[in-house]
């Protein structure tokens, strides 16, 4: 993979394809008027289509649920799984917490960062927008340490030399 830098979050706007826009509208219709208690489910559903949530989407979500826009912003900002800036199409979460550290997670983090051309301290997003690398607290798979997730896929007992094959290019 070629060297890459982080995608700049400044002044970023989502550009939805027509298909994405239709899907988002369907979701917003489903949540119409449902109120605050459906904010997290709604954010999850929308972000599953769009990858991240810009100010415009946040405003539409607020309007659909009939809640204050500031609440939607605060919630997006609070939770690590909601993104208010562009992220890669696939999120790679490498656990670097205690049990994984004991099983060699530092080498896994380095291998991932090297393969993606990213900073091993903080991760980041590849220039082609394919991957975001996150150095993650315990992912609840300590019995399979060292552990990482590629999107929703779980990979336990990872060895550094497996990393290139696991991450590959993008399919």
């Amino acid at each position: 993979m070629t060297t890459s830098s982080s995608v700049s979050p400044t002044a970023a706007h989502l550009h939805l394809s027509p298909r994405q826009a239709t899907a988002v509208h369907a979701i917003l219709r489903r949540y119409r008027g449902k109120g605050s208690a459906y904010l997290l489910p709604c954010l999850h559903d929308v972000q599953a289509i769009t990858g991240w949530l810009d100010a415009d989407l946040a405003a539409q979500i607020a309007e659909s649920l009939d809640i204050p826009a500031v609440q939607v912003h605060n919630v997006i900002e609070f939770y690590a799984l909601f993104y208010d800036h562009p992220v890669g199409r696939t999120i790679v979460r490498v656990c670097d917490d205690l049990a994984c550290y004991l099983a060699g997670s530092e080498a896994i983090v380095r291998a991932c960062a090297a393969h993606l051309g990213l900073d091993p301290e903080h991760g980041g997003t590849t220039a082609d927008g394919a991957f975001t690398l996150e150095i993650h607290p315990c992912l609840g798979r300590c019995e399979q340490a060292p552990f990482l997730m590629i999107g929703d896929e779980a990979h336990g007992f990872v060895r550094p030399e497996q990393v290139p094959a696991l991450l590959g290019g993008e399919a």
Binding site: G140, C142, E143
Partner: protein, 420 residues
Amino acid sequence: MTYQPVLTARLGKIDPASLQDYEAAGGFQALARAVELGPKAIVELLREAYLLGRGGAAFPAGIKWKAVSEAPAPKYVIANADESEPGTFKDRILMEGDPFALVEAMLIAAFAVGAEQGYIYIRGEYPQAIARVQHAVNTCYNAGYLGRNILGAGFHFDLEVRKGAGAYICGEETALFESIEGKRGFPRLKPPFPTECGLFGRPTVINNVETLLCVLPLVLRGLDWFKSIGPEKSPGPKLYCLSGRVHRPGLVEAPMGTTLRTLIYDYGGGVSGSGELGGVLLGGAAGVFVTPEHLDVSLDFAGLRTIDAVLGSGVVMVFDTSVDMKAVLRRIARFFRHESCGKCYPCQLGTQRQHEIVERLAAGRLRSGDLLALREIGQTMRDASICGLGQTASGAILSAIDRFGFDEHTGRFLRFDSNW
């Protein structure tokens, strides 16, 4: 080891997507028995069994259930499946392998306390557990186990799966309510307690997944069986999350009060790495370190109090003498700094300062007064933080410094002999 596992008995033996498999393996017999017993008797059974919460705080479940059973409707039951304590993986394994059991346990809880709505709040980083529990819920609706007039017994229960969004603090029960309500996960001041004013301001039972699953064998096998397992003051089966430097890490179901020695050497196959035990982290990042001198202490809520330790969520993480303890403490300090929600200053500032000092400690650049400051910060967080996160954020770090012989002059932990 004559103990017969009950919480994990079906794992790997049934198809987690199959209601038929679940029923064939004894599923929904506890619900049928619960309906025969009636709500009052179930609550009484829980109280007499002295089932202590398995999520960390070890509060008697029967007391919560009784309070909510006597409170006015509407009320709620919630399964806390946010499992984010570092080192904890038990609830995930239960949900992935036996998801109908959680639905059945929620039904019994709802029936016992008179709730008609429930939530299972599952950690967002558990996609497979979410999918399987959601499938179990959908299947139960189709089969008439959820919805209106369940089992023809005239009670109604709706159950919703909620997906967390990557915040450790949302495992704290009141932060979890806020999260379901669509807000940031800021803990509420207590009192009022959830049994009185919980989700949407209504009386709420919230229990850990493992606590709930303990109810199934308790209802089926009865009080005497339950009390025959483990110590009198905290009876019942227990899941231990064994990880770190052992030959066979994994989930262990054993009687409450099993010793560290049994866990590490019988279940875990002994210490790996240098082969020599350096210490054990009990209870996760929010827990404390203990030393090899503690190998024969009973791992139950009361037994651990005698050595100033906690069982917490059942984390047993093993460290051999070759581990770089500084790298371990850096991660613990970093964790709390990141996960502090920032609602109260003792914790927001304390976790930051603690992290800075631990980074200096790890880099061999401690300043004079740093260790004293670390203790004072810990004390302030323990005494003045709103919630358990801040109250426990210094415990593991300070216990390592005290119990592993940190030498300020050499910058080494005497018990861990690697050569930094």
